[in-house]
Amino acid sequence: MPLRENPNQRGQNDEGQRYYRTLTRNMVLTIILVSFIPYVIVTAILLYQFHASHREKVIAHLEGLVKKHKQNIDAFLKEKLGNLSSLAKTFSYEELSNEEFLKNRLEMLQQAYGPFFVDLGVINARGIQISYAGPFQLVKASYGDSGWFKSAMKREYYISDVFSGLRGLPHFIIAVRENWLGDPWILRGTIDFVAFNNLVEQIRIGQTGFAFILNRDGELQTKPSYPVRADHEPYAAILKREKRAEDQVSTFEWTDESGVKSIYVTAFLKGGDWVLVFQQKVSDAFSDFERALRVTMVVLALGLLAILTTAFLLSRRMVGRIANADREKHMMNEQVVETGKLASVGELAAGIAHEINNPVAIMVEEAGWIEDLLEDDDFKDGANLKEFRRALAQIRTQGKRCKEITHKLLSFARKTDERVLEFDIGEVIQDIVALSGQRAKYSNVAVKLNLDNALPKVRLSQAELQQVLLNLINNALDAMEKQGGSLEINSREEDGILVIEVADNGPGIPAANLGRIFDPFFTTKPVGKGTGLGLSICYGIVKKLGGEIEVASTVGVGTTFRIKMPLEKIKAKGSENGKGE
């Protein structure tokens, strides 16, 4: 049923729209808040936990790696030193001073341990290289003034920092001091820088992780994969460290001038002379976490999007439903008001009808009285006697018309007695049929009753049941008024359900109308003949009594109304087999 539009209502509609918009918004916000907050919190907690444990793992891995390499380098240096030291102890100064012999030794060392030793040399106490085996022409070279020689003479063995020296290539020296006839001499070996560099260069992790070695003065002892400005922070801070514990690996993070944050893992080696530095950009070191974070963020974003969409769609649909329900309620209210209005109009009409009925009755009586008097002889010859009679007959006719109108009004507005009584269904049906008997006879309708006498007594409002039956019977009689026909009323019990049927063989109800006949104000009768309330009142009463009313109709064959009421609900107390009380 479309709502009637008027400006006032349109104003209300705007207000309604705003109300539903607010409702939608509140629902959306509630859903979003309730879903988002735990979602985001849980994700954040998980991410944080993952981040912490991942970081721990990565750092432990890096520290382990650095420690292992530090030990490798230390072991390498120790091994080379051992090589030289055993050479110096096994053979005498004289033997080693022989260049051929020294060359043999170098070849043997290179064969046994790989090409780490580039050359060997024997140097006497004055710093003159007595013999030399290697690719350079360094026999008789004097090292008397070089720093490494002075240092080497002071102790049993010595490992130098990397320097270019006489040959002009980066290298470093391992020297072992021995005595021969009271004079010290030195066996010196040069370690190939490239071979040593490989030891450190092997430490490559991810895309930006690399390692290098610095000496005490911050000079690079290996060639780093990327340029390193060793005189800048944080290297300076590392070099300034007092404690140079051999087996300690320390880790810290530092952001350089260009804003790139890196992780630094350091370990001292060669008795604290050198420091092995491993550095890697944080973004690279924790790239697994970064990837996980990205995936999580994408999933989170998708989830939030899904929640958002759901919140919108759900709220929209629910508010739509609510709006529909409200509209229906509004319509119902309107209908109730309408019906109420109708009822009060009906009451008013009934009052007026009742008040009018008596004067009309008096007028008709008075007219009748005049008619009676006209019978007297005095008036027999009256010239206008015929006119008098006609006028009086007219008064009587119009009085009857008034009576019909008022009777219709009064029977429409009549209130039904709702008192619940115990009674026999069959008797009520018979009463009603008797009341309608006269009408049925005039309409040429044969009434046939098939009543089950074994039905138990029921507890209902008798007046309401009468009204329902009277309505159905009157409708059937109305339908068959023109052609006549037969009206059948059946009552029986079916599986604990009381069934009352009112069946006619009238013209039937077209299928298009069948669905609407119980709607209030639906009528096919001419204007003024029917209110369209009869069947909807029947429907309401039967529903109220806990039953159902259904209709089956075929055009040209007839119509059957069937009332079904569960006996369980309406059966009179103590009435089991129709013998009530």
Partner: protein, 137 residues
């Protein structure tokens, strides 16, 4: 047919007076009273054959008066006069022993017929009782 006594009970005196006049003109021994209480008092002193009773009246209403009449004068027939077609009142009245009911304003001839029928019923009834009492004696 012999003339018979009828009591009309209605609170509308104009209606009552005219009706009584018209009945008298038709040789019916008609009287009229304006309320149920008056009707019962009237019947105590002068019994009638038929009472025509308006259902809706101030004071005692038609149904109450009917019950009272049937209790005190079981043989007196009663025709109910209603303002409109009220099924419940009609059925109730019939159950309480009313002879018939008519709707106002009614056709005078129809009323006469009903009155005659009621009287006939009453006379038959009385005849039966007379025979029974005679037979019994």
């Amino acid at each position: 047919m012999d003339s018979f006594k009828v009591l009309f009970v209605d609170d509308e005196t104009e209606f009552l007076d005219t009706l009584v006049k018209r009945m008298k003109r038709r040789d019916v021994l008609a009287s009229g009273v304006g309320s149920g209480e008056e009707a019962i008092r009237f019947l105590e002193t002068s019994p009638v054959d038929v009472v025509v009773l308006d259902v809706k009246m101030p004071g005692m209403d038609g149904i109450q008066v009917l019950r009272e009449i049937k209790r005190r004068h079981p043989l007196t027939e009663v025709i109910m006069l209603t303002g409109h077609a009220n099924v419940e009142v009609a059925i109730q009245g019939m159950e309480l022993g009313a002879f018939d009911y008519l709707m106002k304003p009614m056709d005078i001839d129809e009323l006469i017929y009903k009155l005659q029928d009621a009287c006939k019923k009453k006379f038959v009834h009385e005849e039966k009782i007379r025979k029974m009492t005679h037979g019994g004696a």
